[in-house]
Symmetry: C2
Subunit: 163 residues, 2 copies
DNA sequence: TTGACTCAGTTCTAATTTGGAACCTATTGT
DNA sequence: ACAATAGGTTCCAAATTAGAACTGAGTCAA
């Protein structure tokens, strides 16, 4: 299977990765969440090749994750801003941050800290059930096929327990 | 900058991606969260080359995300199970699922559904503040440099607002 | 005891993707 | 006129990937 075909699989992870699963793309988004907007700033911060960067930015614009909006005429210049679709990737970036903080940090601790504007405390957001509010981990959730999958692959059954 | 060096950056996202940012790796983990454990099952489900798959599995074992545990002697056979470090990637996989469900699903809706064992409801976990319990998005959080970063790059300042 | 089969890989080659340097275009500042 | 700034594009060598074929240890059935 070719990587470019993963977006066609009946799997939301695969479809999401077909947009953000390329090398550098999630780091571009990390920068975007830190407020970076211009080609030169992304380039300086990421250290990737201008070629790849231009490619990634344009692909994210195509997918509606970033918007290319002019910020100057003569010469015409554009910047890249997160759309609603793009901002909705925040949980992905934060979850990677949380995991990196926990398992990959040096002994000086996490490189950045987050403060919740709502309550003013320094926290790292975690996954919770939006109905009952409890924090959830892999073992608290049970998987079952949705309508789309029952149609396409009626035989598929997830394992019941994650041990 | 070479991809193999991103793990050395003072950024938890970059460090996390140095482990799980390779093509197929997050799909291997998705399968693992669905209960897949054996080489042949990963291969059948993912459709990636055996070569890449073997590589990714061994790399994840090296990083302690999966454990290679024997399930048969004569012939010796191994399966790959999530460790605690691996299970802690659940928020990343769920966040990708949530985004894929919301922005990339076909008209039959999401391929799979999740049920919270705690309250029995069909939900999709979301990000919340572990202190006050409120749901959080990109605009609810403020960024500031941590100790590790103040040491290495004292001049760095994140933008205050995400507009 | 031979031959088919299973599982978990490894090896090989061609095709694709990436990284890095150099170049291009439009405009402003000196 | 000339350098500087911003945002790219072009080119090529090097690295990575996909897919098919092969390996090796052991089981099973005739």
């Amino acid at each position: 299977m070719r990587w470019r075909d993963i977006g066609d699989l009946p799997c939301s992870v695969a479809r999401a990765l077909s947009v953000v699963g390329d090398r550098w793309t999630l780091l571009v988004l990390r920068d975007a969440f830190l407020g970076v907007r211009r080609f030169g700033d992304f380039h300086a911060d990421l250290g990737t090749s201008r070629h790849r960067l231009a490619d990634r930015l344009h692909k994210l614009v195509e997918h509606g994750v970033l918007a290319r909006v002019p910020y100057a005429e003569r010469p015409r210049r554009f910047e890249y801003r997160l759309t609603e679709k793009g901002r909705d990737l925040y949980p992905v970036v934060v979850s990677l941050t949380r995991w990196g903080d926990r398992w990959m940090a040096g002994r000086d601790g996490p490189p950045i800290e987050l403060v919740h504007r709502g309550c003013g405390r320094r926290i790292m957001p975690t996954l919770a059930c939006p109905e009952c509010g409890e924090g959830v981990g892999a073992r608290d959730m049970q998987v079952r096929p949705g309508r789309a999958l029952r149609k396409k692959a009626p035989a598929w059954r997830p394992t019941e327990e994650l041990r």
